[in-house]
Symmetry: C2
Subunit: 144 residues, 2 copies
């Protein structure tokens, strides 16, 4: 089905919400705002923080803050953050020795253009595009 993980979907939702609200938002707050279970939201945020898409501020009155406006955040980045590198095949881009049939394999390495095509398609769409006109707040609008 070529489906990407639910976590990624949640990530987009959370990011969209974060962008719409602006400023610093707490995980429980975002959970309430998006309707996603709170532990899950926390997990997503943690992952995103790891990849410098959001920044966590600890302590009371803490929360998460976007590190980039949503329009500068291509979808591919988010996917890569949560799902890992974008590569369609098991016999990955330049990884040799992964498949035992690579000697006789006719399509050895030929997946690269496909990967590239997908990656480009994903890089051309920002979270702002996904969030759509819902983003009426804060610095995203100010930047416009």
């Amino acid at each position: 089905m070529l489906r990407l993980s639910k976590l990624t979907d949640y990530a987009v939702v959370v990011l969209a919400r974060l962008g719409a609200e602006g400023g610093v938002q707490t995980a429980p707050g975002l959970a309430a705002g998006t309707g996603v279970a709170e532990p899950t939201v926390a997990k997503v945020l943690k992952i995103l923080a790891h990849h410098d898409l959001v920044e966590g501020q600890r302590g009371a009155r803490g929360g998460y803050r976007l590190m980039r406006p949503l329009r500068d955040m291509p979808l591919s980045t988010v996917i890569a953050a949560i799902e890992g590198p974008i590569a369609l095949t098991a016999c990955v881009d330049n990884g040799f020795g992964s498949c035992e049939a690579e000697g006789v394999c006719a399509v050895r390495g030929r997946w690269d253009p496909v990967n590239r095509a997908i990656r480009d398609a994903l890089a051309g769409i920002t979270i702002a595009d996904l969030a759509g006109p819902t983003v009426h707040a804060s610095f995203s609008a100010a930047a416009e």
Copy 2:
């Protein structure tokens, strides 16, 4: 990782081989030619036959035959055959009621352009492209 199933990979390999050899090939023969385990090849072929990409001929001297030249077989078709419809999100294209958060969800239905982009990218590449110059035989070359 946005990875597609190994079966799909095998399908492409088998199809490439089938196109390279031309005519009717048996599953064991293709297994030997590709280096993929024979039961797996059989499984793949059966699925492909179900979707009218190849045609199975039963009985002794039977085998499988391509129903279309590889250059008329976009990658999206093969993927769709093996993995099912191409849709990235859990909250699928027009499927409502699947997600409990769809009321508050900010990106409700916004994945469609992404899906479309992916689908287009995948439709623009044929198996012949993946098989590359290896396709030197039969009617694929004759069509050229």
